[in-house]
Amino acid sequence: MKEERILRAIGQLDDALVADAELKATRKHAGRKVLRYAVAACLVIALLTTAVLAAKSWFFDGHRTQVSESKEAFTPSDAEGNSSKEMVYELTFRLPLRETTPQLLETYYFPSVPAKYPQSFGYAYAGIECETLCDITFFWDVPDGAQSGIRFTQESRYGLEQDGELTENELKIVVFSSPEEAPLTQEITLGGVSGLLITEPEGVSVPRQYFYWSDGDYVFHMWFPLAMTQEEMAQMIGSVKQVKDIRPQLISMTDEALKQTFG
């Protein structure tokens, strides 16, 4: 059997390789290890649950006044080298991966956030495939008002930097001054969808497009895998309702996702 030949060949690997791969955990310590993990898991779950409940309350109710209370996470700088502090907040959950995840691309929704942008539309494109981590990221950011573009990179998922030359593994977001200049804008309604962002497993490349729009008060974002057609994306964007109409659904979506993650 051919695969047996490979199995036998693997059996002849160098001793050092084999010894390195041997699992050292013993049965007699397994019980204590399990107990340690259980206690740690309970603590983490309790902390995250508390944080999520607080974030939910913050996000859906009176979040304007709470922006200044959010965690200060980074300091982007504009083209002139001026820096300003922005507020971000992030919760991360891990989802199990699937081998076929690259083929099961999903639509991602960013939460709606307070914005300093004037009314504008834009889109982003991925010239290069980008790799991300497998997390559910529940986060929002406050753009710094850059008019020429915003950049998301692998290293700064919520980092905002000034427009510049597109380099590998970066997404460039282009801002347009009017809806007519941006593709598919005729389908965009001034509303948004808030919810959880589900990203891809580490090491998996997922090409995508990103749309955002602002009504002057809020910025809304949507991600689409490049595998979707323009018609499919237009249909998705066109189906977005006003936030206030779908808020109850979003709350239950959040609860459902948390339930699936934590059981």
Partner: protein, 186 residues
């Protein structure tokens, strides 16, 4: 007893070497055989034969890693034993799965006339593995040498099971490409 002292017993042809090696590595070799054969009776026979083969091999061989040396003997014996056993009746699920997975790496020999020497195949697989970081390498070797289950590997490395599966899937694909590149047909 330290490995060096046990090996010295083998070299002196002192029969105390056998109980010493059984005490230190009996469970280890038994677990390897059991994972491959899923039968306590067959696993025990493999392990007993391992000590006889080790007695025959040492000297002249002086293994650097006694555990791995013994594990390899047990592994090969278990593979031979498995050939003689009905794997479907006794289970042998782990090795069936391992073989099925590794079947993905095998390039069809249609139109190819090359047969590869065992040493060349081993060297190619070693070179392939050494290109990976230690963790990925250990997971692959853990799966296909030690025949650990996906859940055991996931627990040991603090990863989800699906992430381990995904990693192994990608490595098998790359191993297949590597074997094709080296024009290795089995």
């Amino acid at each position: 007893m330290q490995d060096e002292k046990i090996i010295d017993l083998f070299y002196r042809r002192d029969e105390a070497a056998i109980p010493a090696v059984v005490e230190k590595y009996g469970k280890y070799c038994y677990s390897i055989a059991l994972r491959m054969l899923q039968s306590a009776e067959d696993a025990e026979e493999c392990v007993n034969e391992t000590w006889w083969k080790a007695w025959s091999a040492i000297p002249p061989h002086r293994p650097k890693h006694l555990s791995t040396f013994l594990g390899k003997i047990t592994r090969n014996l278990a593979l031979d034993r498995r050939k003689q056993i009905n794997a479907q009746r006794r289970g042998g699920e782990r090795i069936v799965l391992a073989l099925e997975e590794l079947g993905q790496c095998v390039q069809s020999a249609e139109g190819a006339e090359l047969a590869v020497e065992e040493a060349e195949l081993v060297k190619t697989i070693e070179d392939f593995l050494m290109a990976y970081p230690k963790r990925e390498r250990n997971i692959f070797v853990g799966r296909y040498w030690h025949l650990y289950s996906i859940s055991e590997l996931a627990a040991a490395y603090g990863m989800s099971e699906s992430r381990v599966s995904s990693l192994l899937f990608r490595m098998r694909k790359k191993l297949k490409a590597c074997l094709e590149k080296e024009e290795i047909y089995l």
